[in-house]
Symmetry: C2
């Protein structure tokens, strides 16, 4: 073996490549482990139901910047992030556990604010805060959240079930959270520069709300059940629409074709993207942190899905090997690529 | 309300006080949440069995120092730490999920070493690595480990079941891990000073092993089952024998009396403590990271427990309000106190 190959830097692998690389020899042995690495949550057989467990690590400076993230919002979003993975497998979250690393720069009121946000999210989504730990940290704040949920055996929806010709559906709109972050970041820089300028966020409440206090489209999941539409695959869009769609394609062994004109983008997102001289399709496809659901349904459900207002069909799966494309109204096609190492 | 009271610093609360304070209003609502905050693991009803979930956060510079902790050992210990909480409730761990935050100072070989240790612990304890995430970090390494296990409803052992007159039992010996850490820390300082002196660790392999590669006394749990001894309460000793005993007492509503002469201390621990001019009882009672089990059994089991070589009786529970004491051979008694904020 060429020794230099081993000296690859971590960035060479990209985030998903690194996980794949490190876990390439991992084989599950316990018969209760239904799904291990690779889906939104681990799936554990616990008798009548399956138990879903997801876990997340949020680091100061990487996942959040406390200059413009109120701690209450941070607590709220930490819970959303973890339970989103349970919903994405068509499960119902029941418990979260929060581990906290805090340095001496924080006071008790700040930590109370954080817990207030955690509690509010737990209340809004009927989840119990069932444990966790607090530990000191040398360097800012670290939050670890574990969510536990359940799903009946035959209601589990995985990432790998999409088939060619399935319709690709999404909830909500995309890119707003990313543009909200750009706006907060711009205002922070202006403030650092002259310490006087107050942030000008008027007219952009929607994008900022999407960044600071995201919600999960739970009602859509109920509507799907009511209309008896059972998705063949599902994922929550946290890495970016393009990246998460490619996840589903690769695991399902399909190609895909989506349409520029069908990707839902909010007016505020477009307007702000214009202000920043960015094509709004860039944050929509690659922004991430949308906390919307992306799922596929059999083609014959096309009429039924139209009944659900909150769902948009953005394209369809294609056969294996036919590539991943986004098409313009003029018939032009571009290959969809996901960003590598990003949070 | 006096506003100044709110301005208490985090250290004023102590670690456990802070968790109590922040979670004082947390009430569990889901009927699947059997136990939330306060025991070794969360306990979730999943039909025939209970699902146990524990979660841990390990931060560089707080929980480990990479100067003397080989990454393979660190990976191993991270898993031990998480599954120890499952065993402490008399459960069997089945899965672990590991989330990693790593800064650019790490190369792929180092992360592979870490995963090698994780995999080895998973193999040795028949646990599946069932998920996790890798994220970039600005400041060193952060490891979040979630362990999932199961236990039959009537085999669950909690922290709050001890009664007055129950015998207090422990596995293994205490203080070794702490003394191992002191030794590694001393050799690190000498190395920093002259950069030439090689660490002199000969003769102290046991204490260093206890610090770097702890194991869980799983065989004792099997023996207890075999002898049909069902503990009334159980905890894993990670914060320190004194602190963890007081946990059990407070949750069970009992006092306790243990005996200096009965606390098991290894010869290497005593010898090294002497070298450091420390009373060996200090690390034994307050050192922590022993990963031994502390449990209580009814008094009538006294003859039966003698059959199990790996278990020592160190004292007994007393009635509520009679305090927490450690007694010397000369009849003197001292109050047991736990350290406040410590890892």
């Amino acid at each position: 073996m060429d020794k230099t190959e081993n000296k690859k830097s971590i960035n060479d692998f990209g985030k998903f490549g690194l996980i794949d690389h490190l876990t390439r020899n991992v084989k599950t042995k316990n018969k209760t482990t239904i799904i291990g690495i690779g889906d939104d949550s681990a799936v554990i057989d616990s008798g009548e139901n399956l138990t879903l467990v997801s876990t997340d690590l949020l680091l100061e400076g990487i996942h959040f910047n406390l200059i413009y993230t109120p701690l209450k919002h941070l607590g709220y979003k930490s819970v959303i992030r973890a339970i989103s993975d349970i919903y994405a497998m068509n499960g119902t979250p029941g418990q979260v556990m929060v581990s906290l690393g805090i340095s001496s720069k924080f006071n008790i009121e700040q930590i109370e604010d954080l817990y207030e946000g955690i509690s509010l999210a737990c209340k809004n989504y009927s989840v119990d805060l069932a444990g966790g730990d607090i530990t000191s940290s040398l360097t800012g704040m670290t939050i670890g959240v574990t969510a536990v949920g359940k799903v009946e055996q035959n209601n589990l929806i995985k990432r790998d079930g999409a088939r060619a010709n399935d319709l690709i559906c999404v909830t909500g709109d995309f890119g707003a959270s990313f543009m909200g972050l750009q706006l907060l970041e711009r205002e922070r820089k202006l403030f650092v520069k002259d310490k006087v300028t107050q942030p000008d966020l008027a007219g952009y409440e929607y994008v900022i709300g999407r960044q600071l206090k995201p919600e999960i489209p739970v009602s859509t999941l109920s509507e799907l059940k009511k209309e008896e539409i059972r998705p063949t695959s599902m994922i929550d869009v946290t890495d970016g629409l393009a990246s998460d769609l490619l996840h589903v394609c690769r695991l399902s062994g399909t190609g895909c074709k989506i349409f520029y004109s069908k990707v839902p983008i909010d007016y505020e997102t477009s307007r702000l993207a214009e202000e920043f001289n960015i094509d709004p399709m860039v944050p929509a496809l690659n922004g991430g942190e949308d906390y919307e659901l992306l799922f596929t349904i059999p083609l014959e459900m096309v009429e039924k899905i139209k009944m659900i207002q909150s769902v948009k069909v953005i394209g369809h799966m294609t056969s294996s090997g036919s590539g991943y494309y986004i098409a313009g109204d003029d018939g032009s096609e571009a290959e969809i690529s996901a960003q590598g190492w990003k949070e």
